[in-house]
């Protein structure tokens, strides 16, 4: 069945007349499984703005935050809403990790994938006044430190925690991972020097970087970021070296995508695929990507599903190694 998705989308764009296509009949709800103000929330609200500003749908868009239980609340809500074509959910890697860490009866295959909008990078940040210049400096200091150096991130047993686990494994050191409720909090704690580093996404720390409070060391991706407009101190995102190039061989990226509940019709799915394709082509979206230093990586249909399957496998392995999987 899945192989028809892409075909359906293409067919819709090319052949079908508007009279046959499905159109939403009431307000469309975007469920954000994170609290207001976070990166997922910002993405949802940006999309809301773009869709309404450019009149891409006849119906209004509402953003609803359902952050409880590490996003499981929002995911359960979508699971329960099977067949409802007026609900969408923004997702990150949490779509695999939350069920793995909590044993909740959730599975992304019961949802209908729409599109992947981008990938988000993770950066190793330190306080601007910290002595570390490279990942090597930081790891050397970590080896000598007692009590261990403190690395802040968002939530426990999630993306940031996995990266810190990866760093421990790669460098043979021990860190004290301190979970925060949001990346913004971790960033503030870092600029107040209460933690030694954070693994925030670029968007979560850009304000403090520009304000001269924090400083990026390296990015946990295979390639450097591409945005070369200077951000702070005359440096741009593209100037941040990869961690691997500094001897810290940890790479991790997170998907940011859209899903809808299961059991919807192909026409309904095609409508949203088409909608988000249009969103991803607007200049406002491109601005948003550049501002948040997201890796542009739009995928829908089969390409998205293939990506999801590979990514889930990768996460199952990582979570298992780190001992984060619920018994």
């Amino acid at each position: 069945m899945k192989q028809h998705w892409l075909a359906a989308g293409a067919a819709l764009a090319a052949v079908t007349t508007p009279a046959l296509a499905w159109e939403p009949t009431k307000a469309i709800e975007i469920v954000v499984p994170f609290s207001a103000g976070g990166a997922s929330d910002q993405m949802a609200r940006t999309m809301q703005g773009i869709i309404q500003k450019n009149n891409l749908t006849s119906q209004p868009i509402i953003v609803v935050n359902k952050p409880a239980a590490g996003g499981a609340e929002g995911m359960l809500d979508i699971q329960k809403a099977a067949g409802d074509p007026h609900k969408l959910i923004t997702t990150s890697s949490g779509i695999f990790m939350t069920p793995m860490a909590t044993k909740l009866p959730l599975n992304w295959t019961e949802y209908t994938p729409i599109a992947m909008m981008a990938q988000d990078s993770f950066v190793l940040w330190v306080n601007a006044k910290a002595p570390y210049q490279t990942a090597g400096d930081f790891m050397t200091a970590a080896k000598a430190a007692s009590p261990p150096l403190k690395i802040g991130g968002t939530s426990s047993k999630r993306e940031d925690n996995l990266i810190v686990f990866g760093m421990e494994k790669a460098g043979g050191v021990k860190f004290a991972y301190i979970p925060h409720t949001s990346g913004g909090q971790a960033s503030t704690q870092l600029s107040g020097n209460h933690i030694d580093a954070s693994t925030n996404n670029p968007a979560e720390d850009v304000a403090n970087w520009r304000g001269g409070a924090t400083r990026p060391i390296c990015v946990f991706s295979e390639q450097k970021m591409t945005y070369s407009t200077p951000v702070a101190d005359g440096k741009s995102w593209a100037d941040i070296p990869t961690c691997a190039s500094q001897g810290l061989n940890v790479t991790y990226q997170m998907l940011r995508g859209m899903f809808m509940p299961g059991k919807v019709t192909k026409e309904q799915q095609a409508f949203y695929v088409n909608l988000f394709k249009k969103v991803s082509e607007t200049p406002e979206w491109k601005d948003y990507l550049a501002r948040s230093a997201l890796v542009p990586d739009y995928r829908d249909g089969e390409a998205f599903v293939t990506f999801l399957k590979a990514d889930e496998e990768k996460h199952a392995k990582l979570m298992g190694e780190a001992g984060f999987t619920a018994k």
Partner: protein, 209 residues
């Protein structure tokens, strides 16, 4: 100011029943509170002449049952916390706090249990009061139960009808009008203006929402 007779013993201060003129705006207020005019039968308060103890549920069993439930809850908390680890592993484990709070809770509840045997027994709630409370609670439970099958708006309409009929102080047409208007106003505010989706049932589906 004239204090109406207090039926309820063991009530915190300032729970004096104050009969406002709300129900009968046409009546002269001082006359009502002074007991010069007969009050409708829904108001049981003035029915008891001073000195007569009203019959009702006494306080001690309620105290005992409450304390027993709290003790039970404390055990559930302790069982859950120790099941997940309530020790100290480089800082408190996730059951550490609930377990410590659980022990305190258990101690407090046991103390309340012992205490309730020693305190003077009094009337917790008179049967008349219980009747009054159930006249509100009954329709309320019905309302909540109907939300799932019928949707909030229809359930609200039924709730208003039943509640106002049970309370029986209004004319039938004002009851019907309230029962129709309130859900419509709610619908207009929440659904149409603020786009807050509330539970909807078959009627709304029929109307295309």
């Amino acid at each position: 100011m004239l204090q109406p007779f207090r039926v309820c013993i063991g009530f915190p201060e300032n729970r004096d029943p104050l009969f406002g003129p709300m129900l009968w705006p046409e009546l002269d207020r001082p006359a009502v509170t002074a007991g010069l005019l007969p009050l409708p039968t829904e108001i049981p308060m003035s029915a008891h002449p001073e000195g007569e103890t009203p019959r009702g549920l006494s306080r001690r069993p309620v105290e005992l049952v409450t304390a027993a439930i709290l003790i039970g809850l404390a055990f559930v908390v302790l069982w859950d916390s120790y099941g997940r680890g309530a020790g100290w592993d480089n800082g408190p484990q996730n059951g550490f706090f609930p377990a410590r709070v659980g022990w305190l809770f258990l101690a407090a509840s046991l103390f309340i249990l012992v205490q309730s045997f020693r305190t003077e027994n009094s009337v917790f709630v008179t049967f008349e009061q219980l009747g009054q409370v159930s006249r509100v609670l009954g329709p309320l439970v019905l309302f909540v139960a109907l939300i799932q099958p019928l949707g909030l708006y229809v359930a609200a309409s039924i709730f208003i009808l039943v509640f106002m009929a049970v309370v029986a102080t209004s004319r039938w047409w004002s009851i019907v009008l309230t029962a129709i208007l309130v859900p419509i106003v709610c619908f207009w505010i929440f659904e149409q203006q603020f786009r807050v989706p509330l539970p909807k049932g078959p009627l709304e589906a029929m109307l295309g929402y």
